[in-house]
């Protein structure tokens, strides 16, 4: 047993936590895609309404939410003890626990375990942790085919695409686009396939059944792990996960170390919070729970890979650590006005939307995802909707400060803010600065708004909006003139 006590962040060159472009540039591309915006607008407004309805029918939702937040906070405060308890329990029940400092280690461990079975293919339960570390790519490089079995993940995989939503990875695709992907990529698919949802689902079902029955190794993530009993939990809607969790001979679970709850009883709170917040259902159709192995029943070999990949570094930040409370419901994505317009790919990470904007920079180190904390108008809708009350806006602001304070070179922006701070803390200087702002009147030449062709950075504003012409006299100056000092 090795417990690494350092603070590694997710390594570069592996996994899916970093984008190729800063958010504003990636967003510009997405904003031009009318089909994408229509798909997203439709999907998010539908799921928002569903969630609001089922949350509204729980009279003690506020208390449940507070309980969820308190449980998470208490668990994180003693994460080391709970992890050791989990390891002990899993081992006692016939499982094997592996500790992975980062994506590279986790991928190596899983690859080694699959190789040991002699199999060159695996079926996968939808899992954010394995997406995060780029496990499919690592397995492929080792000659092992990883088949996604969640319908949306399958669509993304067949489409050679990337997921754009935590819960609905193919949210950016509509039925017609999915039909095209199936016709093109699914072996032996009926060429008469229409885009009727039932037909699409039946095609996926036939395709997946064959894989389930053939697979000898399955790889899953975990929604929860109960430290005291060594129980792992996966909640899902389709039952494909359960197929993977029960049919193969070997089961490998990759789990972020933050997914723990101390006791069995604690699950009660999260099994209420999660489905209502995520799919807008009262209860998810399938909840699979397992502990170790049971002779003659289900997988006979079970491996649990506990993944750090930047989590202890996140835990060390007293404000940012709250992001680890996330139960991946994606309610914050569905209410976020920024996500709704840009979609998930703009965030560059497998964790998009508001939670991604605080989680990804912390896992990678803020300098590797520096544009993400600014990818929010701080409207607060994410905080309001979060089932475990993560104060995402405050973490965003905190990470912005971390970014600014870590900058080695003085930027033009920093100079401007420093100068402005000097003025705004000295009334005499401030009045002089206000007078200078009044010079905008010359540019405006008597018009109520300033010209559209202002130089940068003002041009970023005036490209689509008029700037008001400052008046001759500020309010405080006028008041002073009328009322005396």
């Amino acid at each position: 047993m090795t417990v690494f006590l350092g603070l590694p962040t997710a390594p570069r060159g592996v996994g899916n936590l970093r984008g190729d472009q800063p958010f504003p540039d990636a967003a510009r591309t997405a904003l031009r895609d009318g089909q994408l915006r229509a798909n997203l607008g439709h999907a998010t407004s539908t799921i928002r309404a569903k969630r609001a309805a089922v949350v509204g029918e729980v009279p003690d939702w506020a208390q449940l939410r507070a309980a969820g937040a308190a449980l998470k906070r208490a668990t994180m405060a003693r994460l080391d003890e709970h992890l050791l308890a989990l390891e002990e329990q899993v081992t006692a029940r016939g499982g094997t626990v592996h500790w992975a400092r980062d994506a590279n280690e986790a991928n190596e461990i899983v690859t080694r375990l699959v190789r040991a079975t002699g199999s060159d293919e695996v079926v996968k339960v939808k899992s954010m942790a394995t997406q995060e570390i780029g496990l499919n790519e690592a397995l492929e490089a080792a000659g092992i085919a990883a088949h996604e079995t969640d319908l949306a993940e399958l669509i993304v995989q067949l489409g050679h695409d990337k997921p754009s939503h935590i819960l609905v990875p193919a949210i950016h695709k509509n039925r017609a686009e999915i039909r095209e992907i199936f016709l093109r990529e699914m072996p032996a698919v009926d060429p008469e396939l229409t885009d009727e949802p039932r037909q699409l689902a039946m095609a996926a079902r036939a395709h997946l059944r064959e894989r389930f029955l053939r697979a000898r190794v399955a790889i899953s993530g975990a929604n929860f792990a109960v430290a005291k009993t060594g129980t792992l939990a996966v909640v899902e809607s389709e039952g494909n996960g359960r197929m993977c969790l029960t049919l193969p001979e070997t089961l490998i679970t990759v789990m972020g170390i933050e997914k723990l709850v101390p006791t069995w009883r604690d699950l009660e709170v999260f099994l209420q919070l999660l489905p209502r917040s995520s799919t807008g259902e009262r209860m998810n159709p399938y909840t699979s729970l397992w502990a170790g192995v049971t002779p003659g029943d289900g997988p006979q070999e079970f491996h649990l890979v506990l993944l750090d990949n930047g989590r202890t570094a996140t835990l060390a930040d007293e404000i940012g650590r709250e992001a680890l409370h996330c139960i991946r419901c994606s309610a914050c994505l569905n209410v976020c006005p920024v996500y709704e317009r840009t979609g998930g790919h703009a965030y560059g990470s497998v964790y998009p939307g508001p939670i991604g904007a605080v989680l990804s920079p912390q896992l990678t180190g803020v300098e590797d995802n520096a544009s993400l904390p600014y990818a929010s108008s701080l409207c607060g809708a994410c905080y309001e909707v979060c089932p475990v009350a993560i104060d995402i806006p405050s973490i965003l602001v905190h990470l912005r400060a971390e970014h600014v304070e870590a900058q080695e070179r003085t930027t033009v922006e920093a100079l401007g803010f420093r100068w402005l701070a000097k003025a705004m803390s000295n009334p005499r200087l401030w009045h002089a600065a206000q007078k200078a702002a009044g010079l905008g009147r010359f540019l405006a030449r008597g018009k109520p708004t300033m010209p559209a062709a202002l130089p940068p950075p003002a041009s970023k504003w005036t490209r689509t909006r008029d700037l008001p012409t400052p008046p001759k006299e500020t309010f405080t100056q006028a008041w002073l003139r009328e009322h005396g000092g």
Binding site: V338, A381, W461, D466, F475
Partner: protein, 257 residues
């Protein structure tokens, strides 16, 4: 009551008519208004852009400027939210412990306009007259940080001559977000475009809100569209009466026709 008016940096510099209207309204309701001359900014723009350290002297200046005030009123939900949720923390982190306690106490005495009118003064009918079709945008920080609820709507309903029409998607952000509007200009514009479509769909003459900053953003977009619909701050509507021409009209037009 003696009320200290915090004009806010933005209102003072580019929308003085909003502070003027706030003063006129409070005086009409029988209160004495003072404008502490040392005031400048609450520091929110610095904090929210990541300039936490640089915000310390700005916040310190604010706390000192309003130190003796019995009650502080600002025509800005966003600035008041910053005063409530950020100022003490900024000072504490900056090592200004004593001033941080003062900031926390000052925050307790600082109110957003609609909250001050309804909760402290206990009025919803301020005797205003404003014969226009108006829609109300609840601005994110007023809505989710200050929880002003329906106070502005109750105030608007009591205004004579005013026809209040509901804004579809009212609770969606307009896309301003301070420096977000510049740092993520395209996303901000996409959000604004949807907000403007909702506003224009109401056929209102005026869109009002309790935040001059959001209104500057929305008004700037509407002005560019030459839509004819203008933005007017809640304070300006509440300050308008049949007897007096509304104060913003007396000084300068809020938005070009």
């Amino acid at each position: 009551m003696k009320v200290a008016l915090f004009a806010t940096c933005l209102v003072d510099t580019v929308a003085p008519q909003v502070a003027r209207a706030t003063a006129v309204l409070l005086e009409r309701l029988g209160h004495e208004v003072v404008v502490p001359p040392g005031q400048a900014c609450c520091g929110q723009m610095h904090v929210n852009t990541g300039y936490r350290r640089e915000a310390v002297p700005i916040v310190a200046n604010h706390v000192r400027a309003f130190a003796g005030a019995e009650a502080v009123v600002a025509p800005s939900g966003s600035c008041v939210a910053s005063i409530h949720h950020q100022q003490a923390d900024v000072l504490r982190r900056g090592g200004e412990t004593a001033l941080a306690d003062e900031a926390a106490a000052l925050a307790e005495r600082t109110y957003e306009l609609s909250q001050f009118l309804v909760d402290v003064l206990g009025v919803t009918d301020v005797g205003a007259y404003y014969p226009h079709r108006v829609t109300y945008h609840p601005t994110c920080h007023s809505l989710r940080m200050l929880h002003v609820g329906d106070r502005p709507v109750r105030l608007l309903r009591a205004v004579r001559g005013l026809e209040l029409v509901e804004l579809p998607g009212a609770e969606q952000c307009c896309g301003f977000g301070g420096t977000f509007a510049v740092k993520n200009a395209d996303t901000s514009t996409a959000m604004l475009t949807d907000k403007m479509a909702n506003i224009l769909g109401t056929h209102a003459e005026v869109c009002t809100a309790g935040d001059a900053s959001c209104l500057m953003h929305i008004g700037g977009g509407l002005s560019r569209l030459r839509s004819g619909t203008r933005t007017v701050h809640l304070a300006e509507i509440l300050a308008s009466t049949e007897e007096a021409v509304s104060p913003h009209q007396a000084t300068r037009p809020a938005v070009p026709a």
